[in-house]
């Protein structure tokens, strides 16, 4: 089933066109990777899906992006509802300067998910689903800022899961982590795939090849190639894709 559908999407920052006529469809409960060299618009594309680009002054979009049957570029779309359904993990882990518990409880609290006992349960189940519960269950009241980078990133994913989204956007979630931690976060993503549709932006082509079901290759704001990851990496149709994945530029 198709989860996100992008049709004729164009995006401008002022006069600069960052995305050019993108057409894509992302499948439910799959991992889709968006790859491409710096400045190709991959993070911009990701930030279209939860309208985080709205924070940037002078942005302008045309086309349609359909998530769960409604066009999210429409003016009438409720950003709170959209962002509840479409969560985002950032490049730098950004836990709030609050306790570990309060970080996870943040989402349920702002969306009024029930009483404190229910929130405590959500905190527990969210931490369990990112495999942090056993390590952190005795220090829930301590500051989240003292965790290791990997733990912080897991915490940010747990914070997201607590809001019960169905799409997870990940903007280079491992770029600040060491290889072992990256490996473990990738395991976690494979696990999460059973329940969520994941779109990941990554610099790291090997990472895209390892974890994604489908891969989209962007270059200077244009979609060069989109297909099954194995096909994109072993038998690319576009010569530019081949040049990029073989490291001729980027």
């Amino acid at each position: 089933m198709i989860k996100i559908k992008v049709e004729n999407l164009n995006l401008w920052y002022g006069d600069f066109q960052a995305l050019k006529n993108i057409n894509l469809a992302f499948e439910e409960k799959q991992i889709t990777a968006i790859i491409g060299p710096s400045g190709c618009g991959k993070s911009t594309l990701l930030r279209v899906f939860n309208r985080m680009n709205d924070l940037v002054e002078g942005i302008h979009m045309t086309g349609e992006v359909t998530i769960n049957g409604s066009n999210i570029l429409s003016k009438r779309v409720d950003l709170v509802t959209l962002r509840k359904k479409v969560g985002m993990v950032f490049q730098r882990p950004n836990p709030f300067p609050l306790s570990i518990y309060e970080n996870i409880a943040f989402g349920p609290k702002i969306h009024n998910h029930g009483k404190s006992r229910e929130i405590a349960q959500i905190v527990e189940s969210s931490l369990k689903s990112v495999l942090l519960w056993d390590d952190l269950k005795d220090k829930l009241q301590e500051s989240a800022l003292q965790l290791s980078l990997e733990q912080k990133q897991r915490l940010c994913i747990a914070r997201l899961i607590a809001v019960k989204p169905d799409i997870l956007l990940m903007d280079e979630p491992c770029s600040t982590l060491d290889p072992q931690a990256t490996d473990r976060i990738e395991d976690l993503m494979r696990e999460l795939k059973n329940n969520y549709s994941i779109v990941i932006v990554t610099h790291n082509m090997q990472q895209a090849a390892r974890i994604s079901d489908k891969t989209a290759f962007l270059l200077l704001g244009e979609l060069m190639e989109y297909g099954e990851t194995t096909q994109v990496f072993t038998n690319p149709k576009n010569s530019k894709t081949e040049d990029y994945i073989t490291g001729r530029y980027g």
Partner: protein, 287 residues
């Protein structure tokens, strides 16, 4: 040659740095030397907690509780008025205002800081004082409340600019993270940004309050200057600062009265020192 030049410049800068500390130390020692002589005739306890300030009666009664309470009421009133407005203004400038409006507001706040206190005092005298008299139906409008309102104007620029700085320097990723979880703008401010900036905001408030306690001219003009034990904020009071300013000229050098004014100076020095140190610890607090 270049090395020599570097050396001279370095030492000159060091000297400037040391000079500021040295002068503070000298001022404090001078205050201490003059003020401490008072306690040969009056106990510290009586000086701080006695209720009568009659410096020129015979024998002189030099007890400063009315003055401490005067400063306290004026400061408390000013804090209650200026903290919510100041912090609110900082939030508005840092988070809500359009960039153009933001610049205008920041300039406005700086202008407010640039108004000399004597001008504020004099504006308060001709506008606020009659108003307070009429609204509360008092025999005089020269009250602690009038002082509080005027001083709130003086504390506000400090509070706004430091609190705005604190809010502005929060990493943008906190805000993004919160919005991406579906929080509204206000929820983001209230639940993430304010806690993240809390130490800076506390420091802003402390420095604002410090400014109020040290202020002299405006309070002298509009609080009525009655060195009596105040029972409410609607009575005339006299602050520690105003006492020194009003009486230093007429005190005989070397008299008890003269020493008492210096002792008041020490009390003020200690109060502002404690406030500044507290503000500083909050400002440099590492999370």
């Amino acid at each position: 040659m270049r090395k020599y030049k570097e050396f001279v410049i370095e030492k000159l800068i060091l000297l400037c740095g040391l000079a500021s500390i040295f002068f503070v130390l000298l001022i404090f020692l001078f205050l201490l030397k003059e003020g401490i002589s008072l306690f040969s005739t009056i106990t510290l306890k009586r000086f701080l907690f006695g209720k009568n300030w009659y410096p020129i009666s015979d024998p002189a009664e030099l007890e400063i509780l009315p003055l401490i309470l005067g400063s306290f009421w004026v400061t408390l009133g000013a804090a209650i008025i200026s903290i919510p407005i100041g912090v609110g203004c900082a939030i508005y400038i840092a988070e809500v205002a359009h960039p153009k409006l933001k610049e205008i507001l920041k300039t406005g706040i700086e202008l407010l800081a640039a108004i000399p206190s004597v001008v504020l005092g004099f504006i308060g005298m001709v506008t606020l004082v009659p108003w307070v008299k009429e609204v509360f139906n008092l025999p005089t409008g020269l009250t602690a409340l009038s002082g509080s309102v005027m001083l709130a104007f003086m504390a506000m620029p400090t509070i706004v600019s430091i609190a705005e700085d604190a809010l502005y320097s929060i990493p943008k990723t906190y805000k993004e993270g919160s919005l991406a979880l579906g929080a509204t703008h206000w929820q983001t401010i209230y639940r993430v940004l304010l806690p993240a900036a809390s130490s800076g905001i506390v420091a802003a408030v402390m420095l604002g309050v410090g400014r109020v306690i040290g202020e002299t001219m405006a309070v002298m003009m509009i609080t009525g200057n009655a060195a009596l034990l105040p029972h409410s904020i609607l009575q005339p009071v006299r602050t520690l600062t105003a006492t020194i300013a009003a009486e230093m000229g007429e005190a005989v050098v070397g008299s008890e009265h003269y020493f008492a004014l210096f002792a008041i100076g020490i009390v003020l020095f200690i109060i502002s020192f404690v406030i500044n140190v507290t503000a500083d610890t909050f400002l440099h607090k590492k999370k």
